[in-house]
Structure formats: structure tokens, C-alpha cells
Amino acid sequence: MADTGADQLDDTIVSEPLDLVRLSLNERVFVKLKGDREIRGRLHAYDSHCNLVLSDVEETVYIMDDEDEDLKTIQKQSEMLFVRGDAVVLISPPTQS
């Protein structure tokens, strides 16, 4: 029951999961990585392994403080970033609330 709504053009229908990623090309996306990282950036490339290239990236890294062992976050910026696909858990296109 692919959604037949407004998108009549063939390439805007999400027929397989990676189409969702394709529809986010040149959009800002949220990517959650295994372990302790999240990144937000403009998506320019992906492949079936989920390798990604993003620009104007902001990476959020969760680190544990040595003394009080509390989780803190640090922000890192990167102008243009290749992300290896095997660590990707989730990609959320811009409609994210």
C-alpha cells in the first residue's frame, strides 16, 4: 500500500527504504551513529552501504566525565565530511519534528 497521495511523479514514491534517503539529497538530515554520536548536515551522497557525504556538519559527541561519570556532550564542526556506512543506525530526513 505505497502511499499514493500527492506525489504522482514516480521518483518521489518511497518504494524502498533508501528512497527515503534519496529524497533527502541536498537537505539537512539527522544521522544517528552506533555508540555515542549524532550528526546533522546537508546530505550530498549515499550508497547502499549507507556511506554518506555531508556538508556544514555539526557532530554531537557524548562523552563521560572522568570524575562524576556524568554524560556530557561536545559539538564539533566539519565543512565536508565522509561518513562510513557501517556505523550508521538511523537517518532522519528534515521533516523531523
Binding site: 552506533k34 555508540g35 555515542d36 563521560m64
Partner: protein, 164 residues
């Protein structure tokens, strides 16, 4: 499903083997996924980056201490290799301290590279003890951190984490 897509043939001029070919008979540092550091002469390799190393020493480094063990000939299985580094050859005869002095003498010293702490050679027993402490508290910290990360919705890689 095996397909040798003709359009691929010309483009694959860069292969794993081609990248290692100019390291043969050179002194290399090989870092394994379990954190081991091997220094030896590369005698051969194949398309899976399996390596044959001769006159190899295993160097255990903990903070600024290190210790070497003579190991001989290795056949290393490629998938366990993290990185292969070509060593500036005279390091091994001089060890890191002298290497630093030598660089300053030959004024090859990289100005903005603050002088990296020269490594101090220690006995094997000392390094093993220091290594065990390092592993133990790394594991303890990781356990607490992972449980906190899962609490806030992160997915932890449950496979045995690499220690390199």
C-alpha cells in the same frame, strides 16, 4: 550474484595490492585491531592484505612507557590490520629519544609539532602490569558509559569492541 560489470574494469587501477606494493622489504609498523603494535619487514602480501613480516618485534606502549619483545616471522590475516605505517628507517636503531635529538640536530624538527614526549623503555613485567591496569579501567569506564548511552536511546555495538 557474480557480475563483472565491464564498465568497472578500467576504473579499478587502484587495488589493495597496488597500495602495498611499494612497502615490500621496508620496515613497517602494523597496528592490529586488538591494539598490538608490530614492527617488522614486510616480505609479502596478497589481495586481502594478508601480510608476511620478518624480524618482527612486538612493541607494547602504555602512556609514555614502552617495551619490545622479539617475535620473528608473522603471517598476519588482513582483516585484523588497522593500519600499516612506513617507518622513517633510522628510528629503530636510535629509539624515539635519540630520534628526536637527531631531528633537532638535522634541523628537520617540525617547528609547530610540540616535542612529543619521548617514550621511556621499561621492563616487560612493568609494561604488562601497566597494560593490565589500562585495560581494566578502560573496560570499567566503557561499561558505565554504555549503560548511560543506552538509557538515552543510543544503540551500542554489541560485538566485542576493538581495542586498537
Amino acid at each position: 550474484m557474480e557480475n563483472t560489470d565491464p564498465s568497472l574494469l578500467p576504473s579499478i587501477i587502484f587495488t589493495t595490492a597496488a597500495q602495498l606494493v611499494d612497502c615490500v622489504d621496508k620496515k613497517l609498523l602494523v597496528v592490529l585491531r586488538d591494539g598490538r603494535k608490530l614492527i617488522g619487514i614486510l616480505r609479502s602480501f596478497d589481495q586481502y592484505a594478508n601480510l608476511v613480516l620478518q624480524e618482527t618485534i612486538e612493541r607494547i606502549i602504555v602512556e609514555s612507557m614502552y617495551s619490545d619483545i622479539q617475535r620473528g616471522v608473522y603471517i598476519v590475516r588482513g582483516e585484523n590490520v588497522v593500519l600499516v605505517g612506513e617507518i622513517v628507517s633510522f628510528t629503530l636503531f636510535f629509539g624515539s629519544v635519540a630520534f628526536d635529538l637527531l631531528l633537532t640536530y638535522l634541523n628537520l624538527k617540525d617547528p609547530e609539532k610540540e616535542n612529543s614526549i619521548p617514550l621511556r623503555e621499561v621492563s616487560l613485567d612493568e609494561i604488562y602490569a601497566a597494560q593490565q591496569d589500562e585495560i581494566d579501567n578502560r573496560r570499567r569506564r566503557e561499561l558505565t558509559k554504555n549503560s548511560k548511552l543506552i538509557d538515552i536511546g543510543f544503540s551500542i555495538d554489541t560485538q566485542q569492541e576493538d581495542m586498537y
